[in-house]
């Protein structure tokens, strides 16, 4: 065991938990929004927008996440440069968040779509029949019942996203694993199993907490399915 493991390395890993959480949370929130919008298009009429979204989704689902991160990291500045905008000084973390959001929105969309398809259409008609506007019906009937069906798949998705923050270091965004790799490199690989092991334990704890939170939410959502009053 490296002598400085408990004194400096573990505190250093812990210090990088917040940035890891940012790389998880920001794309998650943005993807919930964009995924919902994509989902609304995907369950609607098959117009031009539908096909654009469908192709976009199939591209992001059909290519490796790491390739997408590189494409965004190297490609986006070039794309912006065409319009005379220089984004080269944006930090790697921002590119990681953009790439992850673009990817996660697609998976979010399909997860929500699966939930929506599972909602009893009679529930939606009922909302309309009692005079809900389309917006009221969306937020009061469609959203809660869609989330209820989709919650278990959302849990799996979010755990994956949390773990996948660990690839951010490949474009130089320093989160927890990025920090660990830095320490390992500085000590020429000595004690690397200990350091990686410590990181693994922290990831495991974070994922477990996330899993528990989702389980509690889904239990709360399912309370109306219990047959005993």
């Amino acid at each position: 065991m490296p002598s400085d493991l408990m004194q400096t390395v573990v505190p250093g890993l812990i210090e990088h938990i917040p940035i890891t959480l940012v790389y998880w949370f920001v794309p998650s929130v943005l993807s919930l929004l964009f995924g919902t919008l994509l989902c609304i298009v995907r369950v609607g009429r098959h117009n031009v927008l539908y096909w654009i979204c469908t192709i976009y989704i199939s591209f992001f689902r059909g290519t490796p996440g790491i390739v997408q991160i590189y494409l965004v990291f190297f490609g986006l500045p070039k794309l912006f440069w065409i319009f005379g905008i220089d984004i080269n000084d944006w930090s790697a973390g921002i590119y990681f968040i953009i790439a992850t959001t673009m990817n996660l929105s697609c998976f979010m969309c399909e997860t929500l779509r699966g939930g929506y398809v599972g909602v009893d259409k009679g529930q939606i008609e009922t909302g309309l029949s009692i005079g809900f506007s389309r917006t009221q019906n969306f937020f009061r009937v469609i959203v809660p019942q869609t989330l209820k069906v989709a919650i278990l798949n959302l849990k799996n998705l979010e755990i994956d996203v949390l773990k996948d923050t660990s690839v951010a270091f490949t474009i130089g965004a320093v989160e927890m694993l990025g920090y660990a790799k830095g320490v390992i490199a500085a000590s020429y690989g000595s004690g690397q199993l200990w350091i990686l092991g410590a990181a693994a334990v922290i990831y495991f704890v974070m994922c477990t907490v996330l899993e528990i939170v989702f389980t509690l939410i889904s239990h709360r959502m399912e309370r109306y399915e219990r047959r005993v009053a």
């Binding site: 009893d120 529930q123 309370r223 109306y224 005993v228």
Partner: protein, 258 residues
């Protein structure tokens, strides 16, 4: 096609003119004209596929007619032109519907199912909505089931909550879409009794049903829909006891055998 008319002594609540509706090139409704006056209980009879449920769903725009017009109280929609969502919403807020499969919100208690429309649509306070909800639950004999979720209620109880929900909205007309056809036979009479009680309070009702005897008891007027048109129309005595056409006689004799 006749024009919509306003008559002060016989107040027309629901008025349909020239309602046509096709599904995939198959014309289900072939130009229906129908007026329902205030306090009337209209039963719509007809065999499966006759278009009677589609007709009912055209009234609150759950199905949009291809052409024709619908008036409910002061709300008017002409499907010949462009239809605004705002007009549909206004019309729906004058109606309430009781569905074949009850369609209570699964994630709401009996009480919340009723208060939902009162607080969200009618902007009543929570306390006022709950008082109304308890009142209508009492009327359908389910006061003590207020806090149950739908899954914890029998089909008959769910349908009675659904009737209470419709009543609470105090609509100009309540539309019933085969309210007992998804129920176990022994629960049917409970629901029918509830509907009969509600009818006595003077609420305007349009009921699509397969049950001849129930229609005979509850309705003040009966129409028989066949192949997308109104084949017979009149009092229950006229249509059910003394049908004019062979088609209705045949239908009634088949239903009587059941």
């Amino acid at each position: 096609m006749t024009e919509h008319t306003e008559s002060p002594d016989e107040q027309i609540v629901v008025s349909l003119r020239g309602i046509r509706k096709s599904f995939g090139g198959n014309e289900i409704l072939k130009g229906i004209d129908l007026d329902v006056t205030k306090g009337e209980v209209l039963a719509i009879l007809g065999s499966s596929g006759s278009g009677k449920t589609t007709l009912l769903r055209c009234i609150n725009a759950l199905e949009r007619p291809d052409s024709g017009s619908v008036r409910v109280d002061g709300s008017f929609i002409d499907y010949g032109g462009k239809v605004a969502n705002r007009d549909i919403l206004a019309l729906r807020r004058k109606t309430a519907m009781v569905f074949q499969n009850y369609n209570l919100f699964k994630n709401k208690t009996a009480l919340q199912n009723i208060t939902e429309g009162l607080t969200v649509v009618q902007k009543k306070s929570k306390a006022e909505a709950e008082a109304t909800a308890r009142d209508v639950l009492e009327k359908v004999g389910l006061a003590e089931y207020a806090d149950r979720y739908p899954v914890q209620l029998s089909g008959g109880q769910q349908q009675r909550v659904s009737i209470a929900r419709a009543l609470a909205l105090d609509p100009d007309v309540i539309l019933f879409d085969e309210p007992t056809s998804a129920l176990d036979p022994e629960l049917v009479s409970d629901v029918n009794d509830t509907i009969t009680e509600v009818a006595k309070t003077g609420v305007t009702m349009i009921i699509v049903t397969h049950e001849i005897r129930f229609a005979r008891n509850v309705a003040s007027r009966v129409i028989f829909v066949d192949k997308g048109t109104i084949l017979e129309e009149g009092t229950p005595e006229e249509v059910i006891d003394h049908p004019k056409t062979e088609r209705v006689r045949e239908f009634l004799s088949k239903m009587a055998v059941k």
